[in-house]
């Protein structure tokens, strides 16, 4: 660990900042352990100016399989939108339902 990191809190989990995510798939494709699942769809941006409708990506589900993740941080590095960041609260062992509750899911009724 470099001095810069030593002063920070331990990196124990990777967290999604959904507001920054554009569903570009860069993190999913860069992951060496294939542990990120990202589901998304496209919709027409209602605020787009001009006659041609602009299409935007909408994130539906983002999941990291903590059984496969090796905490290499490549996804954090590769994200151009700073939508992934290290968090210090570790993912604890638990039941499937408890683990699923730690995953990011689009709020019901769209976002």
């Amino acid at each position: 660990m470099t001095g810069e990191h030593a002063a920070q809190e331990p990196a124990a989990r990777i967290e999604l900042l959904a507001a920054n995510c554009t569903s570009c798939m860069l993190c999913v494709r860069a992951c060496p352990t294939w542990c990120i699942q990202l589901d998304s769809h496209q919709e027409i941006d209602p605020d787009s100016p001009g006659r041609r409708p602009k299409v935007r990506n909408v994130l539906d589900r983002f999941a990291i399989d903590w059984g496969l993740c090796m905490f290499c941080g490549i996804c954090v590095q590769v994200c151009p939108f700073e939508a992934l960041e290290w968090a210090s609260d570790a993912v604890r062992a638990g039941t499937r339902a408890e683990l699923d509750a730690t995953l990011w899911q689009a709020p019901a009724g769209g976002n």
Binding site: R29, P32, W34, H41, V55, V58
Partner: protein, 185 residues
Amino acid sequence: MPLWQRGAVMGVEVTAARDWLAHHRAASEQGWTYLEFLTAVDWPDTAEIEIIAGLRQAAAGRCGDVRLLSCRVPRDTALVPSIVAVHPWAAWHERETHEMFGVRFTSDPGLPAPDLRPLLLSEVGQWPLRRTTALPARTDRRWPGLSDPGDHPPPGMTVRRRVAPEVPGVPALWLAPPSPQGEHP
């Protein structure tokens, strides 16, 4: 200083498979009595398996040089003389090399046949460290990077054709049709 930095690794001495045992015996008589490791490397391009062994001089201990001996055999037969007669503890390495690469070690007539029972696997015949053996975690699963937001366009718009990204970490060798069961049992 880390252990691996002590002493130099000398160039690989390539021998014919039939001289493998004799070469080890000669090296042992020159003082290279400590077999550090024995393993193999698969070279599918030339259809060969290379057996490689590292030797040290016991007198020099861990500070001495490592001398590498190697021989190449065809992949499909992969018969190599056992060196257990020179280094009894090579038996473990030869069992492992057989289990992982499908190399068969042979002994001179009159000597007991090498013990090639598997150490880890319940059944042999897959040869996990041959480069043509596919890793199920990479071939039995769809790469998550294949999905794309454009696969689900807004209502009324069609999916735009795109070039599928190349799946990383899956060599073309794994996708080739399996070779006929010509490899020895």
